[in-house]
Subunit: 77 residues, 2 copies
């Protein structure tokens, strides 16, 4: 299986969802990207279609917005 | 791994998310429940904390609301 990318911003909702996703999908199948700490990744997330975090971009490019932690605009600050 | 439960109501957003979740988690690890067709399951979904569909209830009881198809109130009709 190709890898997914999980985008988050360190918020409690994000951390909780991260644990769930890693547990469900398997740590070896998902890259975790903290766009609050590494803001250079925000543009890449936007190009992938991410509108809010936490979000999971699947290997086929679909975006699953999971619960709601923060919009990308809020992360940009 | 214990099984998760994926609640949906047949909407396009739900069907798309279902394919993604089954692909990510594995068909053998998730029960699919269509609460639009089997409305007796709505109460169980609510007890699990589901507020909208599609949603995934993880083995440890957390609820991941994925994107947004419809609120449970809308499914009740």
């Amino acid at each position: 299986m190709s890898r997914s990318t999980f985008y988050h911003a360190g918020c409690p909702v994000c951390v909780s969802a991260e644990h769930d996703i890693v547990s469900l999908v398997g740590e070896e199948n998902v890259d975790i990207v903290h766009i609050g700490e590494d803001k250079t990744q925000i543009a890449e997330a936007e190009r992938s279609g991410v509108q809010s975090v936490p979000a999971l971009v699947t290997p086929n490019g679909n975006v699953l917005h999971i619960n709601f932690g923060a919009s990308l605009e809020e992360v940009k600050g």
